[in-house]
C-alpha cells in the first residue's frame, strides 16, 4: 500500500513546504491560481448581473411555471449542499474512525464544504422572491403574531442548513487555529505576522490548551457526523413528505445522503487533482489518498445506483397508476435524454473505478469526477422536473425550460465557489500542518 506521506519529511519540512505556498510571495503563485481566480470573478460578474435582473423583475425571469414551480433553484441548492457533505464526512467521520489518510485532505475538503454551503444558501434566498424578507424564515416575535410551521420539513431545512453552515465554519476555524499560529510565527513581514496573529487568537501550543483543544475537536467531529446525515435527510424530506409521485418515497433519506457523499467526493477529487499537480503537493496528497477517495466514490455510487433501480421497482410494485406513469415518463418521456445521461454518468461510468489502473490514472480520474458532478446535477434535475411536469391532471401538463437567467445564476454560484476557494488557497494553509506532523514518523527515510 502507498504511504500517506512522502519520503524524508520531518516537522520542519512539513511547516516549510505548506506555509511557503502562502508566505513565499506572489512570485511563487502558479498561473493556475490566476486562471482559477479569473474564472471565478468572471462567473461572479454574471451572478451579479443575474441577481440584479432577478430582483428588478421577480422570479418570473426564470423558467418556472405551474406545475414546475421548483426548478433550478432547488436543483442547485441540493446539488451544492450535497457537494458540501464530503468535506464534513472527511473531517468528521474519518476522524472518528481514526483514518490517518484524512489529515492532508481535510482542510481543503472543509473549505469546500463551507463555500459549497455558501453557494447553496444563495438559492433559497433568491427563490423566496422578496429576499429582503428572508428573515421571515426564522422564528422571531413579530407584530403579525405568526410563527414558522414547525411541523414542516421546509422549516426543518432552515434550521438544518443554518446549523450546518455554523458548525462547518466552527469546525474549520477550530482546526485552523494552531496552523494560523504557525503562520504567525513563520511570517517575516510585520503586518503579515499581525494579520495571522489576530486570527491565531494568541495560540501558544500549551499542553493544557491542547488537552481542551482535542476534546473540543473530537466533540465537533462527533456532532458533525449525525449532523451531516440529518441535513441531507431533512433536504430529502422536502421532497419525500409531499404527495408527488416520484418524490413520495421512504427511500429518499439514505439515497440522498449516499448521493451527497458521492458527489462531494467527486468534487474533492475535481479540486484536489489540479491543486496537487500545480502546487506540487504529491508528498502530502499521495496516491493512497487519490485511490481511497476513488473507492469511496465507487461505494457510494453503487448505493445511488441501487436507489435508481429501487425507484423503478417501487413505481411498478406500488400498483399506483400515477407512480408507474411517472416512472415510465421519466424513462421514456420528453426528458428521456436527461434520465439516460444520468444513468450513464452515475451508473455506468463509476463502474470503471473497480479497476486499480483507472483509480491510479490521474487524468482519467479527474475526467470521471467531472462526469459524476454532472451526473449528480442531472439526478436532481430529473427528480425535480420529471416528477412535477406531468401533473395529476393532463390539462395541467407543461414543460420546463430554463432561461438564460437560470443558467447565469447557476454558473454564477460556481463562480462564487471558485473565487472563495482560490482566495482560500492563497491566504490560508491548505493542508493541516499540525495534523500532518503526526504522520512524520511514517515518512520513509531515503538517503
Amino acid at each position: 500500500m502507498d504511504p500517506v506521506i512522502g519520503p524524508n519529511q520531518d516537522y520542519k519540512t512539513v511547516s516549510d513546504k505548506i506555509s511557503d505556498i502562502i508566505l513565499g510571495g506572489w512570485s511563487q503563485v502558479p498561473v493556475f491560481w490566476y486562471v482559477g481566480l479569473f474564472a471565478g470573478l468572471t462567473l461572479l460578474g454574471g451572478l451579479g448581473h443575474g441577481v440584479f435582473w432577478l430582483f428588478m423583475n421577480g422570479v418570473g425571469v426564470w423558467g418556472l411555471n405551474i406545475p414546475v414551480g421548483w426548478g433550478f433553484a432547488i436543483i442547485n441548492f441540493v446539488w451544492w449542499i450535497g457537494i458540501g457533505h464530503a468535506g464534513t464526512l472527511i473531517s468528521a467521520i474519518l476522524l472518528l474512525f481514526r483514518q490517518d489518510w484524512r489529515t492532508s485532505i481535510n482542510r481543503f475538503a472543509e473549505a469546500m464544504t463551507l463555500f459549497a454551503v455558501a453557494s447553496a444558501g444563495l438559492f433559497p434566498l433568491l427563490h423566496v422572491g422578496r429576499p429582503w424578507l428572508a428573515f421571515w424564515l426564522m422564528p422571531y416575535p413579530n407584530t403579525m403574531n405568526v410563527w414558522p410551521q414547525f411541523r414542516s420539513p421546509l422549516v426543518w431545512d432552515v434550521f438544518a442548513v443554518s446549523t450546518y453552515a455554523t458548525v462547518s465554519a466552527l469546525f474549520w476555524f477550530t482546526g485552523l487555529i494552531p496552523d494560523l499560529a504557525t503562520m504567525r510565527d513563520k511570517a517575516k513581514k510585520t503586518w503579515v505576522k499581525k494579520a495571522y496573529g489576530i486570527f491565531a487568537l494568541g495560540w501558544r501550543g500549551s499542553a493544557k490548551h491542547w488537552e481542551r483543544y482535542e476534546i473540543a475537536y473530537l466533540v465537533l467531529g462527533g456532532l458533525s457526523t449525525p449532523l451531516v446525515l440529518s441535513v441531507h435527510t431533512v433536504v430529502s424530506f422536502d421532497f419525500a413528505v409531499s404527495v408527488i409521485p416520484g418524490w413520495h418515497a421512504t427511500l429518499f433519506p439514505p439515497y440522498f445522503v449516499a448521493g451527497a457523499i458521492y458527489s462531494g467526493f467527486a468534487m474533492v477529487l475535481t479540486l484536489a487533482i489540479p491543486v496537487r499537480h500545480f502546487y506540487k503537493l504529491g508528498d502530502f496528497i499521495t496516491m493512497r489518498h487519490i485511490d481511497n477517495m476513488a473507492k469511496v466514490m465507487l461505494a457510494t455510487g453503487l448505493i445511488v445506483f441501487y436507489g435508481y433501480m429501487m425507484e423503478v421497482f417501487f413505481g411498478w410494485y406500488s400498483g399506483n397508476p400515477y407512480e408507474w406513469f411517472m416512472i415510465k415518463n421519466r424513462m421514456f418521456g420528453p426528458y428521456m435524454p436527461y434520465y439516460w445521461a444520468l444513468i450513464f454518468c452515475n451508473g455506468l461510468v463509476p463502474q470503471t473505478l473497480w479497476f486499480r489502473s483507472v483509480r491510479r490514472n490521474i487524468p482519467l480520474l479527474f475526467a470521471i469526477s467531472i462526469v459524476v458532478n454532472i451526473g449528480m446535477w442531472l439526478e436532481r434535475f430529473v427528480i425535480v422536473v420529471t416528477s412535477l411536469h406531468r401533473d395529476f391532471l393532463p390539462s395541467s401538463w407543461d414543460m420546463y425550460y430554463p432561461t438564460i437567467w437560470d443558467w447565469i445564476i447557476y454558473l454564477g454560484s460556481i463562480g462564487q465557489f471558485l473565487l472563495l476557494f482560490f482566495l482560500f488557497l492563497r491566504f490560508v494553509p491548505m493542508i493541516a500542518m499540525f495534523e500532518v506532523k503526526h504522520l512524520v514518523p511514517l515518512s520513509e527515510r531515503k538517503g
Binding site: L201, G202, E214, K437
Partner: protein, 178 residues
C-alpha cells in the same frame, strides 16, 4: 530594574524527550509546569500533572440547553402563543418537533465546545510572557519546550535550572515576565 522571571524553559528536539522530561519534572514535585509543542502529544496533559478538563461536561450541558431551547421554542410557539388546529392534530405534536430539537442541540453544543475551549484556555489573549523566549516561534513548528513557572512554590532560579539541565535539554533559558 530587572524584570521578574516568568519561567525557566528547557528546549527539546523530539516529543519523546519532552514527554520523559515532563514526567520527571512532575515526579520531582513541581506543580506549575507547562509543555509547548507544535502538535498535541497524547498523554502530555497527564505528564505535566494536568487533570481531566471539565470541558466535556460543559459541552454536554450546552447540548442539553440546546435541546430544551429547541423544544421550548416549538412548544411555546405551537401550543401556547399561536395554536393552530390543522385537521384536529394534537398541538403538542412532539415527534415532528424532533428534527429541530436535534439541530438546536448540535448548534448549542458546538458553540459551547469552541467558545468553551477558548474561554477555559484564556484565549484570545494578546500577549503571554512565554513569547519572550528567543526561539519560541519554533514551538509552533519543530521544537518542544518545557516550562517550570516561577509561581511554583518549589521554584528556585538556581536549583530548578540545575534540575532542568539534568534532563538533557538542548538549552535552558530564563524567560522574563514582561
Amino acid at each position: 530594574m530587572a524584570a521578574k522571571t516568568h519561567a525557566l524553559v528547557a528546549e527539546f528536539d523530539t516529543p519523546e524527550a519532552l514527554m520523559a522530561a515532563a514526567e520527571k519534572t512532575r515526579d520531582a514535585g513541581y506543580k506549575e509546569i507547562d509543555a509547548y509543542s507544535p502538535f498535541p502529544i497524547h498523554g502530555m496533559g497527564e505528564a505535566i500533572g494536568f487533570g481531566r478538563p471539565i470541558l466535556a461536561w460543559v459541552i454536554f450541558a450546552g447540548g442539553l440547553a440546546g435541546l430544551a431551547l429547541g423544544f421550548g421554542l416549538e412548544y411555546w410557539a405551537s401550543v401556547i402563543n399561536n395554536p393552530i388546529n390543522v385537521g384536529g392534530r394534537p398541538m403538542n405534536s412532539w415527534p415532528s418537533f424532533v428534527p429541530i430539537m436535534f439541530e438546536t442541540t448540535v448548534l448549542i453544543a458546538a458553540l459551547t465546545a469552541v467558545f468553551g475551549m477558548l474561554a477555559f484556555n484564556g484565549l484570545p489573549r494578546h500577549f503571554h510572557p512565554i513569547f519572550n523566549h528567543p526561539r519560541f516561534e519554533r514551538a509552533s513548528q519543530d521544537l518542544f519546550f518545557l516550562a517550570v513557572e516561577s509561581k511554583d512554590p518549589k521554584f528556585d532560579s538556581v536549583e530548578t535550572r540545575t534540575f532542568l539541565e539534568g534532563l538533557a535539554p538542548a538549552e535552558v533559558v530564563e524567560v522574563e515576565d514582561e
